[in-house]
């Protein structure tokens, strides 16, 4: 595994920003996760080599932060908030419904590799609970019908509803 030319430029830019190399661990890991969907062992090696720091530092970051995954996940990762506000507004029903519809359990990926179901802690959208995040998109005020639409549309490869322009990526 290697960095693309473009990524290398970004790395060079990031180096100017921090006084030491270790600080680049998270940004580089983001970069790889964004491209590959997860952070493989090779990716850890790549970052270790690029930054010339002990491997355990990189390994530890990957496993400690919840946002980095060590395995290939579904094309769409459904992160249903199960925190307190969503819970009192019915997130468990939403989770159960997704499990039933996609025939999986929390933490699993569908056989066709389309969906992974996860639960998340409060995503700061409690005013419109229950909610879930898929990639960069929030889906709020969920009910079973809305979930069916969302899953149906995502399954066909399109977004459930028009979203604003692509969010800018990490700079």
């Amino acid at each position: 595994m290697e960095f693309t030319k473009e990524e290398k430029q970004k790395v060079a830019h990031l180096r100017t920003r921090y006084p030491d190399a270790r600080s680049l661990t998270l940004p580089l890991m983001w970069m790889i996760q964004k491209r590959e969907g997860y952070v493989s062992n090779e990716a850890v090696d790549l970052i270790t080599e690029e930054l010339d720091i002990p491997k355990i530092w990189v390994d530890e970051v990957r496993s400690w932060y919840t946002m980095f995954s060590e395995e290939q996940e579904g094309k769409y990762v459904l992160e249903v908030c199960s925190n307190i506000t969503c819970a009192i507004m019915g997130s468990q029903d939403i989770i159960d419904h997704i499990c039933k519809t996609l025939k999986l359990k929390v933490g699993e990926t569908t056989a066709d590799g389309m969906f992974t179901l996860k639960t998340a802690e409060c995503l700061g959208s409690c005013g419109t609970a229950p909610m879930m995040q898929v990639g960069d998109d929030y889906y709020e005020m969920l009910d079973e019908e809305k979930v069916n639409h969302i899953l149906g549309d995502l399954g066909k490869g399109k977004k459930y509803e028009q979203q604003p322009q692509e969010w800018v990526e990490y700079k």
């Binding site: 983001w30 530890e60 400690w64 009192i88 005020m141 509803e161 604003p164």
Partner: protein
């Protein structure tokens, strides 16, 4: 700038966007062109208006008409009636719960009437992606003043006069903190904006960054000047894509305008800002953990002292403030510390942004002067409890906070009063709970959350949370014993005394406040095996009320485990051993014939 007769301020906060706000905006724009109004009416995409509950929403200025729950198909009618014929459309206006007459003007709606917007002053009014609009409403004037007319000590003095206290949770006086860092004798100093918001129920920081990112930037540049910092970092939670986008755009535009970067406003002062994306860990909100995270380490808190003001980022003096704290700064400099200090209570000045969520009619962000009562917030602004249910408690302060019961509803909300009540201000999440919420379950919830999020470094926090969870789980499963209540108290005390950081030290608060105010619910779980809110599945039993059942068979179809049987038109049978207590039958029953009832175990 071009002048228009009418401005349509369409909310494009996250809540409205997920309810198709962008489709509404597009539809409005094309309809306005179609009806030949393009030179008279303009459409502006604004940050969160606050009234997410009714989204998508739009405010029409200058008349101040508030439209809610907009649908794409109604747009042509709306444009024709209101903008062409001058007849505002009642059908899309706000009707208060349980009333019939519409309230056309935004300023007359209870939700907005009691609010005082300082931090959120630009919400629903400007397009956060356009710096010109921010400047149009006095934006960056405070910065001009701070850079050209004020000495660093004067800026710090002004913030001290204002009595501004940190909005990130602890409420430490901001001016004093700046003073510490200013005093540190080092050439390199850093600023941090803490936008790792992770308190369950709180989303004001996200909204501020989404709705008015320049206010935060301006505050930071002023702070940098006061403290003598050359570089700053905004640490944003990874799960906030829109906030990340807007803050990046704001930095770009401000740099272009010479308000950030080298030689700001020709004053010779330099300040650079970077955005750092968090890794999804609640504990990274704690400032020493946050600093570790920027440095590329895992986010484990470190013992203080040394405080960041002496040794922070890369060992240099560092000043960290919360998003909302920074956003208050420009207004203080512009309007004076005295003005700010005239708002609020004796010890807590200014306003506070709260996110009002849970079982309340109007959810959303509200900003009120410190000292406003919980009653005003929950009942006047929030419109009371959903579906007319009975109010039980408000959870304030997230996992370090506590539940305030109904008997304290007239409590004026400020740092001191909330702490006295056993809760804390925290970042400002207010979760309303009704009779259907089980307080033991709530306590268990927060404990589980913190157990997940504890960094695992110190023993009292790591093990204490595990034990708390075990005991609470036993109680909710109907296996509670009298000694458990005492155990909860003991574990809580130990954690308070011995934990390394505030996460562990405040973690028992949700347990302690529920024990204090809702002890009878714990006792019912333990001694009567009863959950009055009908939440704890092991303590409830579904049974069919034969006198009411008409034998319609709806529940028979709904039951996933075939626990309900019975011929049509005769009272059905519910076999307890097969019942998994999913509640599906309860949901579909039209005759109130199935009731979740508490079990009594001899």
């Amino acid at each position: 700038m071009k002048q228009y007769r009418t401005h349509c301020l369409v909310c494009t906060g996250t809540g409205c966007v997920s309810n198709h706000a962008f489709d509404i905006k597009t539809a409005l724009e094309s309809e306005i062109i179609k009806q030949g109004l393009k030179d008279e009416v303009t459409v502006i995409a604004t940050g969160c208006n606050g009234f997410c509950e009714r989204g998508p929403v739009m405010v029409v200025q200058p008349e101040n008409i508030f439209y809610q729950e907009l649908k794409e198909k109604d747009i042509p009618f709306l444009v024709e009636e209101h903008f062409l014929k001058g007849r505002p459309v009642e059908k899309m206006m706000y009707v208060p719960p349980k009333e019939e007459a519409v309230i056309p003007k935004m300023s007359d709606i209870e939700f907005f009437k009691h609010q005082l917007l300082v931090v959120l002053r630009n919400r629903g009014r400007i397009d956060p992606e356009k710096i010109d609009e921010y400047i149009g409403y006095d934006g960056y004037r405070a910065l001009g003043k701070a850079l050209t007319e004020m000495k660093p000590e004067q800026i710090i003095e002004e913030v001290k006069t204002a009595g501004l206290r940190g909005r990130g949770g602890a409420g430490f006086p901001t001016g004093i903190k700046w003073g510490f860092c200013e005093q540190a004798e080092e050439d390199t100093k850093y600023l941090i904006c803490n936008a790792d918001e992770g308190d369950p129920g709180a989303f004001m920081d996200r909204s501020i960054l989404e709705a008015d990112p320049h206010a935060v930037l301006e505050g930071m540049v002023i702070g940098a000047k006061a403290i003598g910092a050359q570089e700053g970092f905004i640490y944003v939670r990874d799960e906030y894509p829109l906030a990340l986008r807007r803050i990046n755009i704001a930095i770009e535009q401000a740099t272009e305008y010479g308000l950030l970067g080298e030689n700001i406003l020709g004053s010779g002062f330099n300040f650079k800002l970077n955005v750092v994306r968090g890794g999804g860990a609640f504990v990274c909100g704690e400032e020493t953990a946050l600093i570790a995270s920027i440095e590329g380490e895992v986010g484990r808190p470190k013992p203080r002292p040394p405080y960041p003001a002496q040794k922070g980022l890369w060992g240099k003096p560092t000043n960290n403030n919360n998003v909302e704290t920074w956003a208050n700064v420009p207004q203080i400099i512009l309007r004076g510390g005295g003005w700010f200090a005239s708002l609020g209570t004796k010890e807590s000045k200014g306003t506070k942004v709260f996110s009002l969520v849970g079982k309340v009619n109007n959810t959303g962000l509200v900003e009120v002067p410190m000292g406003t009562t919980l009653r005003t917030i929950v009942f006047d602004i929030g419109g009371g409890v959903l579906k007319g249910k009975k109010f039980k408690a408000v959870q304030s302060g997230g996992p370090s906070g506590g539940c305030v019961p109904e008997s304290l509803i007239d409590l004026p909300v400020d740092f001191e009063k909330l702490t006295e009540a056993g809760a804390i201000m925290g970042s400002g999440g207010l979760i309303v709970m009704d009779e259907d919420t089980c307080m033991v379950d709530v306590a268990k919830y927060f404990v589980e959350f913190l157990e997940e999020e504890s960094c695992g470094k110190c023993n009292p926090c790591r093990e204490g949370l595990k034990r708390l969870k075990e005991v609470l789980t036993l109680i909710t499963q109907g296996k509670g014993e009298a000694k458990h209540l005492e155990m909860l108290d003991d574990i809580a005390l130990l954690m308070k005394e011995a934990s390394l950081c505030a996460l562990g030290a405040t973690a028992p608060n949700p347990v302690l406040t529920t024990l204090k105010y809702f002890r009878e619910e714990y006792e019912e779980h333990i001694f009567q095996r009863r959950c009055r809110a009908k939440v704890c599945k092991d303590l409830i039993m579904y049974r069919i009320i034969a006198e009411k059942c008409t034998g319609c068979q709806r529940c028979v179809k709904a039951c996933p485990t075939e626990a309900i049987t019975g011929p049509r038109s005769q009272p059905h049978n519910l076999e307890e051993s097969k019942c998994i207590k999913c509640g599906a039958c309860y949901e579909v029953c039209k005759f109130d014939a199935i009731a979740g009832d508490a079990i009594y175990i001899e």
